[in-house]
Symmetry: C2
Subunit: 348 residues, 2 copies
């Protein structure tokens, strides 16, 4: 900056104003300074800037505590990435809700009063939340939706795995695994839920493309209830002894596994589940679960935070969407997943 100032015959303060864009400065000098800066290949020293500005970047976070197997990893991704950037003054204001959707509006209101520059949240009820998101954006608070979206709102960005893609992915794998004239079923939570609806949609779109002779014979709604899911699955399996594949689009796969075992069909019926948690492990090991579609909660949290840090520190634009690729978990790569590693393994 000093060198620019010298060449432009102005003070270092003026150079600052020119570079900064704001401030009262004559357009002519501004242009001149900018020109010289470019010629010199000037790049700001971020360390100095951070040191000088002093106050950090406060980021509000509102995510659920449950379901732990998912949000624990989202949270870790967020917090670790925040800590990695502590030296840039990144600071988190954490206002969790107990379950998805519980009191989310209250928490958001609270966060809006906390002098935050940005807000990360997992909208459960986008309609309800939209006015608050819009209000935040009006105040200059960047809102990033995480894991689920609020498309009708003015949110700056969303980080997630597209549910349709997850469904398509599952559908394609299922199709590849099936033999001729196969019959498959889907077990889901509630079809009303946007997320589940889209997964089912993606799955059923793709399946016939991969195997024209495959048929989706049933979509079972388990309503996230263990017993209901179990008994409905048993019925499904008895009703249809030729079923050769099941896709569980919700996290509740354990009752499905149990139903398969109790009917002696474990390993015979190809089972594709979603996500990953400890209790699934034995079913993976003994071949009941063939594959699981993993939504990479840790990386989702990490990505959300990185987008914001890059934006506030380097002025990088935040893309309106950041879609992650789902992973597929099989027996052979199971060991590499954090959920099953010991706590002190290195993480990113």
């Amino acid at each position: 900056m000093e060198e620019i100032a010298k060449l432009a015959n102005v003070s270092i303060g003026t150079v600052g104003r020119a570079l900064h864009g704001n401030g009262r400065i004559k357009e002519a000098t501004r242009q001149r300074i900018l020109q010289i800066a470019k010629e010199l290949g000037y790049k700001p020293n971020l360390a100095a800037r951070v040191l000088s500005v002093g106050k950090g970047i406060r980021i509000g976070i509102c995510i659920p505590r449950e379901l732990h197997f998912f949000y624990d990893y989202v949270r870790r991704g967020l917090f670790r990435e925040a800590r990695r950037n502590e030296h840039l003054g990144v600071e988190i204001v954490y206002r969790p809700v107990d379950r998805l959707g519980e009191e989310e509006v209250e928490k958001v209101k609270e966060l809006l009063k906390s002098d935050i520059r940005s807000l990360i949240l997992t909208p459960a009820d986008p309609k309800m939340l939209a006015p608050w998101i819009n209000k935040a954006e009006q105040q200059g608070i960047r809102v990033v939706c995480l894991a689920s979206d609020a498309p009708q709102s003015n949110r700056t960005s969303v980080v997630c795995v597209e549910p349709v893609l997850a469904g398509r992915f599952a559908g394609e794998i299922m199709g590849l695994m099936l033999s001729e004239k196969a019959q498959v079923a889907i077990v889901t939570g509630m079809l009303q839920t946007d997320n589940h609806h889209k997964k089912v949609q993606g799955f059923s779109e793709v399946l016939p493309q991969v195997r024209a002779d495959a048929r989706l014979v049933d979509v079972v709604e388990g309503h996230e209830d263990e017993d209901e899911t179990f008994s409905k699955c048993v019925q499904l399996l008895r009703r249809n002894r030729k079923l050769s594949g099941i896709y569980v689009s919700t996290v509740n796969c354990l009752p499905v596994c149990r139903a398969l075992r109790s009917e002696g069909l474990a390993g015979k019926v190809k089972l594709i589940t979603s996500d990953l948690f400890r209790e699934m492990l034995p079913y993976f090991r003994n071949g009941t679960i063939a594959a699981s579609i993993y939504q990479r909660p840790y990386e989702q949290g990490q990505a959300a935070l990185r987008l914001l840090v890059d934006h506030f520190v380097s002025g990088r634009a935040v893309p309106p969407t950041y879609y992650l690729n789902p992973n597929i978990i099989l027996r052979s790569n199971l060991a590499l997943y954090r959920e099953l590693r010991n706590a002190n393994a290195p993480e990113f």
Copy 2:
């Protein structure tokens, strides 16, 4: 630091010496200061440190230019992550080789003279390189192997996809896709190559576990030659009309695709390839390639650099190994891969 100094009745300079570990300082005062620092929960301001020290962390990089489809992404991962950490003074000294193994020792020697704190390289000839790696480590230069390993050396760490795992992963997917009494073959480069050998090994271990009745009938070495691979594949397919799966463990999958098409077997024989580049796209689209095992070159580069930055900036230990999970690419998730995205899409 000022507050610590006050409480300990010393100057800020003494606090610095105590914290820093080095320097001439009476052990008693050192302990006292450390104690107070801990009580106060002192954490150094990294921005200030970087600003003060001035000179950054120079990291030497020696990776090949070819094969572009792979190393271009490794390089991007490395460079972008370096740029993200510019404000911490991270700086790259880039000494590429044209092809894997070409003049690697020369380049490494050159880099060792460049006042680097760390060295990232892709060893092609570990035996040859080991003494240089050891020398570097002796000089206090942290050596990180990237994409391939030099296990007999004293390298600090390795970042890669384990080839055995990639093979096992492919084997399991293949197993899941096959029907009864299936016969499969592998097309590889040279079995002498450690990497290929291990992939083949992983694949053949897992296949019978997934399908006891499947049989690995042939392993074809194409020696990375287009014509040789093509004609050997055609022979393979004619010799064995009942072949139902092929795993290509090398990047050279195009001749295999062409052979399948020319024999009218595209889509009939399940084809699993490795990695991803533009020319594979049509074969994905028309169903010739069922799946590809993706080694995430971008993330490999990114991870290597992150490990080092975390180490030098925050004093975090570098884990001796950092294994990435390979991804599987299918038609449905193809669109999300960078290789096929336009250049200005957001990246991490």
